[in-house]
């Protein structure tokens, strides 16, 4: 457990994206996103103070659990596009592959590219395979992505007080 506290958060490069540690300079973008209704699929809306707590908690999650969320940058211009990774707070039935993109980053296949890389890394490095994703029933874009990733609905769950579908991803190692 002590080891995870010291290890830096790994950096992954895909064809068009860099998955890297959340950092202080992400705060204004994250705060603005969490003040919008768009954030309702990922625990929002949240105040600026809650966004600060959320950002620092994302980093601490790696230290506490040994895995966590990456922030996604465009390799072309360094633009901060969203996040992807594995999270497992109390109330989650098991570790979840989670993702979200800002509105301007949608429709380019970035979430698919990022989720593929994160899922493969989770299987190899965290030994977490056949992950779930919690998706709200009205979040059709995320449901479509889950399907494209080869996941299927396994059942219903409750997350942060909201009913959602539990999607199960195929094993990377299969």
């Amino acid at each position: 457990m002590k080891r995870a506290m010291i290890d830096p958060i790994p950096v992954l490069d895909t064809q068009r994206l860099t998955l890297r540690a959340p950092q202080a300079s992400d705060l204004p973008t994250l705060t603005a996103f969490y003040e919008t209704e768009r954030s309702h699929t990922v625990g929002g809306p949240r105040t600026a103070l809650e966004s600060f707590t959320g950002l620092t908690a994302r980093i601490g999650h790696w230290a506490v659990c040994g895995f966590g969320l990456w922030h996604i940058d465009s390799r072309e211009n360094g633009d901060f596009l969203g996040w992807v990774g594995v999270m497992n707070p109390p109330g989650w039935q098991e570790p979840e592959l989670a993702w979200a993109l800002f509105a301007h980053a949608e429709g380019k296949g970035y979430a698919f590219e990022a989720a593929r890389a994160a899922r493969a890394f989770a299987s190899q490095e965290f030994k977490l395979d056949g992950l779930i994703s919690y998706i709200l029933p009205d979040n059709t874009r995320s449901a479509a992505l889950a399907e494209r990733l080869g996941a299927s609905i396994e059942g219903d769950g409750l997350l942060l007080g909201k009913p959602c579908n539990i999607w199960r991803h195929p094993k990377e190692s299969a």
Partner: protein
Amino acid sequence: MTAPGDQLTTERLILRRPQACDLPVYSAYCMSERSKYVGGPYDAQKAFEKYCAMAGHWTIRGFGRYIITWEGRAIGHVGPLQIDDTIPPEFTWTLWDGTCEGQGFATEAARCVQHHLMQDCGWPEMVIRILPDNAKSRKIAEAVGARLTDEPAPAWYEGALTYRLGGHA
């Protein structure tokens, strides 16, 4: 300015950065009535997030809250928190378990961190926010030399008193 150390030692206590093994005892505190002065009690999910945030704060700011350990046991936290980097860091302390009160642990830990930050590291100023009816914490603020101001409470901590350490009187 010198960067704050990862670990400090007092006569009876070791103050160190958060470790994953502290989470259960911190969560028990957060989910208990003892967290009422800081917006609690919280549920398990919120306690987890707050603990992760305490660990991640060190990475983002290069300083943060120390875990107070006594005879190898984590009993509380003490140290600076900076949400808004346009105002001085807020100095905070908490003992997680009531049975550890009354022995001067919080004062001993707060004195050590205050001295380290302001003498060794050259920090000019910190603020302290305390609810008026939290008499024990107010005594500790006074013991470390903080002065009560008439500054209004921040929006996120309604009714709190503001003390200051350092800066201009």
